[in-house]
Symmetry: C2
Subunit: 436 residues, 2 copies
């Protein structure tokens, strides 16, 4: 295996910000032919319903389904999948599910209200979404952990009906994915995928009920379909390649740091793994560990492509500067592998998830620490948040004016409405002003 | 003025759901030439910065600006605008601002964490966005109330820098809008508008700093630009036409209900105002009030177009059925003009804001009740929420494993990672398992 040469940057160099911007640059190229094809599929499913769903599924997934009813799995099938899982894996899935659920319980938002002196009541009422769709990719990218991470917050939010879709290419299904669906409490499962599954969830067919929101990862067809049905239904974020940024003070075992970088890089060639340190000799040591450990890795080629193309070792003057660079990157995952991670954490404003201390490997968060592994990528942590229970709840404002309250508010509203030239607004408010 | 004939529906009719769907149907037609034009403007502003901003502003707003610095208003100018406002209006704006702020304070989300038995700490850290852009339309659609509703939640969230953009066609500005910006604590104001203003906020120019999120209403160019820069920055919802749904038991003054319908219909021809009642004679009475009051209205033509084209009077069997219809519509504004609004409210799952009781005119909520008037439209209340403080805050997950915690979690993560074929994940976790 040839030596990996990682990009080296120094925060002290004059053009550092420009170099960093180029390193981070990621433009998902919009493919108009994909857009057009997906639009056709959505239209067909809206018009033809089940028949289109069966036809596309037979064509794209090489199946021989006659009736849409055959696309649904029974709860007995999910249970059987769970019971067939080797005990150690079953136990690990259950442990992960319990921890994800315990953490999610802390995220529930509750209705609130307050009463003013004149009896007017103001507040917000929180309700779960009626029905949610969970997209799960088929084939090699089928991750049971992803089922747990997407499904459990929805159930904790109180979503009464959670519909999972997962393609079954040539009829094959990942039994661990079905076991995870069983553990997470998924209500119904349809073996459909691609843009046709997204369209069915958004608009409903005779067999698949329409949902209020669609979450879960997928390929370019799925992502494009989600963008196109947005507005008809809610969607979660459209994720870019996965990223890790590690800040290390040079005192962690360089093999640990190298492996933490690998754990991100092995996802795909576009994944981004970056290490920042104030210790030049440590950066060199990690470089050596990377080259030492790489030949042992099963996914060595993917790791090599990712680290060579998008990885970097960045030297900074001190940890304060490291925090500044991290805030500029706003990484999906941020490891603070330093002596006082809490102090450094105080300086971080933007990250999807922060892993504090040398023992907190990012991989623990991917599976079972509890927090969600669906996180904002590509710098979007500057304005968005991890997937959580709150994504499956919504708010409705409540206004209940007493006669006295509406009389007083009516005077203010009348003045402002007339200032905006909206006289029906003004007169509607004025009707409620007491004249006696 | 010719008689208004409103669509009449009866929930008991066989095809009611189909008729309702057709009444609600709203498709914002995508204009590809607008899309293309906006894309060009964004590209120019990204490449040319201030120069493009000045050129577009001079061209589209018929101004004669030489230097981008001329586009910024000073805090003194905002203060002067506020001081020039007639006292009654200034007081009304301040009252509204205080109530919006008081309500917003209840919405702040706070950081939280918990410690497990082995010392592992899990939680979420809440941070405000660094910098937010607020778009305010110019000309006749310039609403000071909209400035308050968008700006105050951002400041309550703790956003350090709030940048407002508002076009000044031929140099003209609405002084009430500037006064509202002064009251709301807007930090900087640029007199720019259209797609060029959105592009400047998203990418920054030499003069306009880049923001993390852009909120506020705008025309088709602004809405298209917001969609196109989404991902680079966060955006709020893209609003459809405004809607009101009123459920009345027939005991409210029909003139009040007619005026409440008008207050929505006067916004624009596409606004939708619907009344549901279980009392046929009351529907007739409101119909008469509508025709009686319409000639008195300043915006009678808009109201007539809106009510004729998209309004409706719907008869239901009872209030339970009214709630079912409301949940199907998921209206932006819902008035419960009934004897026991709290009981009926219990049955409502989907609405942007609910106005309880005969005295709670929707117009009060538009200006000064406290809750935000930026609400989900076009049925999106099924999955989304009013604008609030939470839209200007974001969450970062925190994971701080003790050595014991990471050792235990490492075992679970290792099993699950190997089940997914991700061996770098497994080995990264395994390094943290205690072997002594």
């Amino acid at each position: 295996m040839p030596k990996i040469t990682l990009t080296r940057l120094d925060a002290a160099s004059a053009d550092f910000n420009g170099q960093l911007d180029r390193l981070l640059a990621w433009n998902e190229s919009e493919d108009l032919s994909v857009h057009q094809r997906v639009l056709e599929i959505i239209t067909e499913v809206r018009i033809q319903g089940d028949q289109a769903l069966v036809d596309y599924t037979n064509r794209f997934d090489r199946r021989t389904v006659n009736d849409a009813a055959e696309l649904e799995l029974s709860q007995d099938q999910l249970k059987a999948a769970f019971e067939a899982v080797p005990e150690a894996q079953a136990k690990a899935l259950q442990t992960a599910a319990e921890r994800i659920r315990a953490y999610a319980e802390h995220q529930k938002i509750a209705s609130w209200s307050y009463t003013e002196a004149d009896g007017t009541v103001l507040g917000q009422k929180i309700t779960p979404l009626d029905r949610v769709g969970l997209y799960v990719p088929g084939g090699k990218a089928a991750y049971p952990s992803s089922v747990l991470m997407n499904a459990i917050p929805a159930k904790v939010a109180g979503v009464p009906e959670l519909i999972m879709v997962v393609p079954a290419p040539k009829g094959e299904l990942n039994q661990l994915v079905l076991a995870a669906a069983y553990i997470a409490g998924v209500d119904r499962v349809f073996t459909i995928g691609g843009a046709q599954a997204v369209a069915a969830l958004a608009y409903g067919t005779e067999t698949v009920p329409p949902v209020a929101k669609i979450v879960g990862p997928g390929n370019i067809y799925v992502a494009t379909a989600k963008k196109l049905v947005f507005g008809q239904v809610g969607i979660d974020m459209i994720a870019g390649p996965s990223e890790i940024l590690i800040i290390c003070d040079g005192k962690t075992d360089p093999d640990w740091i190298a492996m933490d970088l690998f754990s991100q890089a092995e996802h795909d060639e576009n994944a981004q793994a970056i290490l920042i340190s104030d210790d030049q000799s440590f950066l060199d040591a990690v470089d050596r560990s990377i080259n030492k450990l790489l030949p042992e890795m099963e996914r060595a080629e993917i790791i090599q492509a990712s680290l060579t193309g998008r990885g970097a070792l960045i030297r900074v003057e001190n940890l304060r500067q490291a925090a500044e660079v991290a805030n500029r990157i706003a990484p999906e995952h941020l490891e603070l592998s330093v002596a006082d991670p809490e102090a450094l954490c105080e300086q971080i404003r933007h990250a999807g998830a922060i892993f504090l201390g040398r023992h907190t490997a990012e991989a623990l968060g991917d599976y079972c620490a509890g927090p969600n592994h669906v996180l904002p990528t590509s710098g979007t942590a500057r304005f968005s948040s991890p997937l959580g229970v709150y994504d499956f709840q919504k708010r409705t404002s409540l206004i209940n004016c007493s006669p006295e309250g509406s009389s007083e508010l009516g005077k203010t509203a009348s003045i402002l409405a007339r200032g905006e030239g909206l006289t029906a607004h003004a007169r509607s408010a004025e009707y409620r002003i007491k004249t006696d």
